[in-house]
């Protein structure tokens, strides 16, 4: 009889199968999630993705004239789309258009119409009067801080911008301060000066542009850019 006596197994069959299934599911899930991680490609910062840099020249962004320097005679209250054009390490011209949020808009008003942004409403409105040329040329980011649409002029008032996406409104004479709609921040100015007959940037965006959580996030990114591009 002893031949048929069953030893008590250390674990039951059900326990074993449950544990095996659980382990299999865990390994499978982890490996699948790892594969999912490959869905996000690595980001490589190249000069054509860098934010506007001091010394960059403003060139047309419109497809028909892309890459041609913007001339004073072409400017008015209606914004002209522009890309910053800098140099890469070898000294070749690079239009920084691989980052669509680098899109800028150039406007021209009489210089005495600009005024310091009124307090209240939204934080982070900076208007550097030094960054407006004597002829009254001012440059702002063209990208709405709400959802990243390029913002055209308000058809009823050229001193304002009116976003076609979610009705964000900005005042061009007050540092692109938000005067209506959902945008959380003003669109940042980019200080510029006239050098010869070219518009040359004196600085990058004065406050955080669209795509950055806050000023600190933007500052960190600027430092990374400096480190990588030298």
């Amino acid at each position: 009889m002893t031949r048929y006596k069953k030893q008590d197994p250390e674990i039951t069959r059900r326990k074993f199968i449950n544990a095996a299934l659980g382990a299999g599911a865990a390994v499978g899930t982890v490996s699948l999630v790892t594969t999912l991680g490959a869905a996000k490609p690595a980001f490589r910062l190249t000069p054509d993705k860098a934010p506007p840099q001091p010394g960059d020249i403003l060139v047309h962004a419109d497809a028909s004239k892309e890459g041609q320097p913007i001339k004073m005679s072409e400017l008015s209250e209606q914004g002209v789309s522009a890309w910053p054009m800098g140099k890469d390490k070898d000294g070749n011209n690079v239009i920084r258009k691989a980052e669509p949020n680098n899109q800028l808009a150039v406007f021209r008003f009489e210089k005495d119409r600009f005024k310091a942004p009124e307090e209240g409403g939204h934080a982070h409105v900076v208007l550097e009067l030094d960054g407006i040329t004597d002829q009254g040329v001012v440059v702002y980011s063209s990208i709405c801080t709400h959802a990243g649409c390029p913002v055209p002029n308000d058809p009823n008032d050229a001193t304002k911008l009116f976003c076609g996406c979610h009705s964000g409104q900005y005042d061009l004479l007050q540092g692109c301060k938000v005067i209506g709609g959902p945008p959380p921040r003003s669109m940042p100015q980019v200080p510029v000066e006239m050098k010869g007959d070219q518009l040359v940037l004196k600085d990058t965006f004065v406050t955080a542009p669209f795509g950055f959580l806050n000023e600190a996030d933007w500052e960190t990114y600027l430092e990374q850019v400096k480190e990588i591009l030298g």
């Binding site: 993705k49 419109d62 669509p100 709400h146 959802a147 076609g164």
Partner: protein, 437 residues
């Protein structure tokens, strides 16, 4: 042949189990069928379109307008293939049929859902199918959104830029999630292949699986019966069997319906990719999503700007408007079978006027969706001089909250009146009946 097949496959059992399924005879029961047929036509036209579409945003020379050798006219391959589809025989028609059919599929699904809601057909035992239906609605919208990005013209480019921004606005994980979902920082090199994969593989797969589950559960649980069935044969399934009575009706319906959509497509063009051109820096003065997402768009337009920093993440107006708010609306719709329950299994569709609160809540909900969709036209309302920048948000918010409340009580009042009249009629009829005796 039947015998030959039956010997091998036992199709008579299939026949007994599925093909004899009784379909109630009422026109409102065709709405779900129209949704299903639209899906089939969408798959067929989608396959044909996929045969000619090039899923890539690499730049190629535009063969219709090559530019010069020194300065070639480069456009994304996806956009170029959309131009080629438009130029090919029947190509533009295919795009039109696919586009209008998608709109009609969502519309039919929404009206189908209204029928289910107002007649209480979501109650026990059919809660699961309500939830699957909700998922179908959500995934159908996602499929549609990824679909209108594919031609990759300037309109599509701006749309996907906003969708990227919305994904990115999710606190803490948004940046990573947006890059993972859209193949890198916008506009990633692989963005069009990625969206193509979603639109033709992932999302249709999910839609088909959910549709299959929806159908099987419906066959298992049987349709809710219209009220006439109660009078005809109480607690018996009344209707015409799928094979062979319902099948010719369905075939007639699908042919007539598809014919109408094709006719409609022949005359009404869709979004012109040539007009908007390839992705550019050109701002679009008024950009709108499709009608069934206009309410989210409206909510985004009237939520004022704010940013709160919470534990290193930023909660922005964009996140609240495009994620939290629609999330609450969806959660409310998911919760319907838990809010209005019955202990017993439901057999018969309910008369909406016997459930005035549910009816009024449903109407109020629809009114709110419509007001929010109108708020999506805030730009036009301001530029047209109807509202001003200063008062637009206040007025639109008052309407968004006020009109649903007004319509809620209006519906309750009207239903009370209808019922009072009906009861008076019944009393009269009863009194006269007695007088006759």
């Amino acid at each position: 042949m039947n015998q030959w097949l039956d010997d091998r496959l036992h199709i008579s059992r299939l026949n007994d189990k599925f093909l004899r399924k009784a379909f109630p005879v009422h026109h409102s029961f065709f709405l779900g069928e129209i949704t299903l047929f639209s899906l089939i036509v969408l798959i067929l036209t989608g396959i044909l379109l996929a045969l000619s579409y090039e899923p890539s945003n690499s730049l190629v020379v535009n063969s219709f307008d090559p530019g010069t050798k020194a300065n070639p006219n480069l456009v994304p391959a996806a956009y170029h293939s959309a131009l080629k589809i438009n130029a090919m025989p029947f190509g533009d028609m295919l795009r039109r049929i696919h586009h209008w059919m998608a709109n009609i599929m969502v519309a039919a699904a929404v009206i189908h859902m209204m029928r289910i809601y107002f007649t209480g057909a979501f109650k026990k035992p059919r809660e699961i199918n309500w939830w699957i239906g909700m998922l179908l609605l959500i995934f159908a919208s996602l499929t549609a959104v990824t679909g209108y990005i594919l031609p990759y013209d300037n309109y599509a480019y701006n749309t996907v830029k906003v969708i990227y921004a919305i994904t990115k606005s999710v606190p803490w994980i948004g940046d990573w999630a947006a890059q993972a979902a859209f193949a890198g920082r916008f506009p990633g090199d692989g963005i069009i292949p990625r969206i193509y994969g979603y639109h033709i593989m992932l999302l249709p797969g999910i839609l088909l699986a959910l549709t299959g589950a929806h159908m099987l559960i419906m066959i298992k649980q049987k349709h809710t019966q219209p009220q006439y069935a109660k009078r005809l044969a109480y607690k018996k399934i009344v209707g015409v069997p799928l094979m062979t009575q319902q099948t010719p009706i369905m075939l007639l319906l699908v042919l007539l319906f598809t014919g109408l959509v094709v006719l409609f497509s022949a005359f009404i063009p869709v979004h012109s990719v040539e007009y908007y051109g390839p992705p550019s820096t050109q701002a679009i003065s008024s950009i709108k999503p499709d009608w069934y997402l206009l309410w989210v768009f409206g909510a985004l337009a009237i939520i004022p700007g704010f940013e709160w920093e919470v534990l290193g993440g930023v909660i922005s107006a964009e996140f609240v408007g495009a994620m939290i708010f629609p999330g609450i609306i969806m959660a409310a719709m998911f919760a319907v079978p838990m809010l209005d329950r019955s202990k017993e299994n439901m057999y018969y569709a309910e008369n909406p006027t016997n459930h005035p609160v549910r009816l009024a809540a449903g109407v109020a909900f629809l009114v709110m969706m419509i007001v929010l969709s109108v708020a999506g036209y805030k730009i036009e309302l301001i530029q047209g001089g109807l509202l001003t920048t200063a008062n637009a948000n206040a007025i639109l918010w008052i309407l968004t909250i006020g009109l649903p409340i007004v319509s809620y009580f209006a519906v309750l009042g009207i239903v009370r009146m209808i019922r009072a009249l009906r009861e008076a009629d019944e009393r009269d009829a009863l009194a006269h009946a007695h007088a006759d005796d």
